[in-house]
């Protein structure tokens, strides 16, 4: 692996010296996400730097190289009855761990268990000057130095080339049960929030087409007791349903229209926007399938009013910026940080924001 690491360093060092931008790529499963970068930028393929570095189930920590297949990480954890609790979407079999962290996307369990960034304990990375740096560590609690590791989650590779990542892992719940009940959207939003405020083992929620689906996870006794309290009809293949939501293979996501991702305050009323909606995360995540090119500003404005932000998740032909614009103060801080981590602006420039 040292040879590959040396190659990476040489590639980044050269790009830094010549100020020639790099495109960081792994399995290529999330190319659609974020702003497009020119194909003329030199590709740095992370996959050769792969493998599990350390895993001790009783320490609840796994450390793996960024090019490791996400499926391999998941399979190893699965054999030990553990999981990545943020339930990351793969969007394809070749997804890598590095891409999962860089994209910062979490799946159905997010509202109950936490996001990618919540589980990042440490990273090793190459800065835009090819410096080999390590932040955080392999322990649960660590406040030495600024939390640079979590900053990498969702940074789309613009702050560093991820080399190794340490993650907190959790035991898989012994039992999962999926329930379904018919409801209108407003009632579903209210119910998801009300239940989230009670000590119930709800690990995922999804509303679409007048139907609320919820997943219970935990000890058998707790799941049974919650089922009795909540009622609803048991769904036979619950696991397949949640996978179709996580991987966006569910019918809702098959629309050829642009797909918007709105992260909003969970209790916010049904949004009066054109298009069809699917709701997750106890009301906090709203997918919107909408082909009206005139609606871009309206969608952004509504998401902001709802306490959050809108991402153009799948462009499907719509020419607009992927991420919600930042105000001047925040943009200044973003550019200042980018300048520190990547002074020559060579790491995935433009992928997150056109300004850097």
């Amino acid at each position: 692996m040292q040879i590959i690491l040396d190659q990476f360093k040489a590639t980044v060092a050269k790009a830094y010296a010549q100020k020639t931008p790099l495109r960081i790529g792994g399995g290529g499963t999330k190319h659609f996400y974020g702003n497009a970068v020119p194909q003329t930028h030199v590709l740095l393929d992370t996959r050769p730097y792969h493998g599990i570095v350390a895993y001790e189930p009783t320490e609840l920590v796994i450390t793996a190289r960024a090019g490791t297949q996400l499926a391999d990480v998941q399979a190893l954890l699965d054999r030990h009855g553990q999981m990545l609790a943020f339930e990351p979407p793969f969007f394809g079999e070749s997804a890598t761990l590095g891409g999962c962290i860089a994209a910062g996307l979490s799946g159905p369990r997010r509202a109950a268990a936490g996001a990618v960034r919540d589980f990042v304990l440490g990273v090793r990375l190459l800065s835009g000057k090819a410096e080999d740096l390590s932040f955080g560590g392999q322990v649960m609690k660590n406040v030495a130095g600024y939390d640079v590791s979590r900053l990498m989650a969702g940074a789309m590779g613009t702050l560093g080339l991820l080399l190794e990542i340490s993650l907190k892992v959790l035991p898989k719940p012994p039992v999962e049960l999926t329930l379904r009940m018919a409801m209108d959207q407003a009632s579903a939003i209210e119910a998801m929030n009300r239940w989230a405020g009670r000590p119930l083992p709800i690990s995922a929620t999804c509303f679409t087409d007048g139907m609320l689906t919820i997943r219970l996870s935990g000890a058998e006794s707790a799941v049974e007791a919650a089922h009795a309290k909540l009622g609803g009809e048991e769904l036979d293949d619950g696991a397949a349903f949640w996978q179709s939501i996580r991987e966006q293979t569910h019918d809702f996501f098959q629309s050829p229209q642009p797909l918007w991702r709105l992260a909003v305050k969970s209790v916010y009323a049904p949004m009066s926007l054109p298009g069809n909606a699917l709701i997750e995360w106890q009301g906090g995540l709203r997918w919107l399938s909408c082909d009206d090119p005139e609606a871009v500003e309206r969608i952004r404005k509504s998401a902001k009013e709802a306490g959050g932000h809108a991402t153009l998740f799948r462009r499907n032909g719509l020419a607009a910026a992927a991420f919600h614009p930042l105000d001047d103060g925040m943009m200044r801080i973003h550019r200042a940080l980018k300048e520190k981590f990547d002074p020559a602006g060579i790491l995935n420039p433009g992928r997150l924001y056109p300004e850097f």
């Binding site: 009783t58 996001a115 322990v139 898989k172 009670r198």
Partner: protein, 484 residues
């Protein structure tokens, strides 16, 4: 800038009682919870509104005056130690709970609100704020954000960084940043994570939106005594290996058990080398299951004595001893110094043995309390500040413990922060490149270095003078763990 000029300019927008400069008024602010470090500030400012803080910061920015933020002053690493030429910005008057949204399960609070006050205010809705540092009756949420505070329940419920949603932050120039959001994520870099635990070095937090979670239906505790520390350590690994994430998992060593038992008579087994407290919470059915499994695991792990709390009063009495560890230390010794390292749990027995060896070498007693679930060790070094040289000896002993934590693959601070206290050990934990990057991150927010100068990140010059050896990525961390 002279004191008088500064006081006059501050009084232009602050009431008379909000600007302190007489030595007797400054005295209460000369140290935080780490009283070994003391420094009088030039001036103390006590704003009540965000607008007043903006004015203070603009003035300090214009006049290049250092600013040190302070919450309740309970910090244990000297992070709120004043600057001799600076303004000590006390946020203690900003203690309003602005709003609680029970359905959205959030609370918007000012930075001076006490940690426990949030849970008390949320209680009528069946909700609470999860992180519970041991100082929770006094410590403020702003300080919790600055230190990324944990507590005894954080293996299951997370640290401050996992339990906050949004911050209003003022930069040193007085510009407002809204970081995070009412949604579960926000656009751009995760600045919420970067701000959490940044020890007042990047900005001043003026408002925090925290997450509230449902109060568990039931909590129950298993107390297990072991005749060997290694067995107790194995028991912790066995519980986690069985797929259980306990709500709390605390360990006390023999000297701690004796100190608290003499003080409280909590019924701890005095023959034990270590006591484990393992708590389960959740739905009643789930707790019953989990407690039975934990009991069985403790038995299989060789516990010599196991009790399970049968009532809430009994659960609290089991906890009382652990919670009284610090006052008990104060009772058996004139002074004590609380350390805060984190290690991979599997190295617990070795590290405890190493501490015992150091304890003999320095002739100072050391009690060990341990957040065993997440590997966070709190050695309490007992000393007498009135004995010449004893504090210095204690600090050296403490420094050795932290370096041992790094060699074991851990960190010099799990939850207390670096502050002034552990600044030298930062040179051991991080290399030049990482330290330079930390300075660069600070410069992105505070180019002139006016916020809490000299804390948290050592200058490269300091590290060079110390001649500290950076343990490079812990490459030999397991091989060269000291064996005494």
């Amino acid at each position: 800038m002279s004191v008088h000029k500064l006081v006059n300019r501050l009084r232009a927008f602050l009431p008379v009682e909000a600007v302190l400069y007489e030595p007797e008024d400054l005295r209460p602010y000369e140290c935080d919870g780490l009283s070994a470090y003391r420094q009088m500030p030039l001036v103390v400012a006590l704003p009540r509104t965000e607008e007043q803080i903006v004015s203070i910061l603009k003035l300090c920015y214009e006049t290049q005056t250092p600013v040190v933020a302070r919450g309740a002053g309970t910090g244990l690493s000297g992070g709120a130690l004043p600057h001799a030429q600076g303004v000590l910005l006390s946020l203690g008057k900003m203690k309003q709970i602005i709003a609680i949204d029970p359905l959205a399960r959030t609370a918007r609070v000012q930075p001076g609100v006490r940690n426990l006050a949030i849970s008390e205010a949320a209680k009528p809705y069946g909700l609470y704020y999860a992180p519970d540092p041991s100082s929770q009756i006094a410590c403020s949420i702003g300080g919790n954000v600055a230190e990324n505070s944990g507590g005894v329940h954080c293996l299951k419920y997370g640290l401050t960084v996992h339990n906050i949603m949004k911050l209003r932050v003022l930069t040193i120039a007085g510009a407002l940043l809204e970081i995070g959001g009412e949604s579960l994520d926000s656009a751009g870099f995760d600045l919420l994570a970067l701000m959490t635990g940044s020890e007042g070095m990047l900005g001043i937090v003026t408002e925090v939106t925290v997450k509230l979670i449902p109060i568990p239906e039931k909590a129950q505790l298993v107390m297990a005594a072991f005749d060997d520390v290694q067995k107790a350590g194995n028991a912790v690994a066995n519980v986690i290996g069985a797929g259980i994430i306990p709500a709390g998992m605390e360990m006390m060593d023999k000297i701690t058990i004796h100190a608290v038992e003499e003080f409280l008579h909590a019924g701890y087994d005095l023959n034990a080398e270590a006591i484990l407290l393992c708590e389960s919470d959740g739905a009643a059915e789930e707790v019953a299951d989990e407690i039975a499994r934990i009991h069985a695991i403790m038995q299989q792990s060789g516990a010599i004595n196991i009790s399970t709390s049968q009532t809430e009063a009994e659960r609290l009495s089991f906890w009382a001893g652990r919670k009284a560890a610090f006052p008990a230390a104060g009772r058996v010794s004139p002074d004590y110094y609380c350390m805060d390292g984190t290690i991979p749990r599997k190295h617990l027995a070795d590290v405890l043995q190493g501490i015992e060896h150091l304890s003999r070498q320095y002739g100072l007693r050391c009690m060990n309390v341990f957040h065993a679930g997440d590997g966070n060790l709190h050695p309490l070094i007992l000393y007498d500040a009135n004995q010449p040289g004893e504090l210095e000896k204690t600090e050296e002993f403490g420094g050795k413990i932290l370096e041992m934590c790094i060699r074991a693959g851990g960190t010099i601070t799990g939850e207390h922060g670096v502050g002034m206290e552990k600044i030298n050990q930062m040179c051991t934990q991080f290399g030049t490149g990482e330290l330079e990057m930390f300075h660069a991150v600070k410069a992105a927010f505070d180019p002139q270095g006016l916020l809490n100068p000299g804390k948290a990140v050592p200058t490269l010059h300091r590290c060079a003078e110390l001649g500290a050896m950076h343990v490079h990525r812990g490459e030999e961390k397991f091989a060269d763990l000291p064996r005494f």
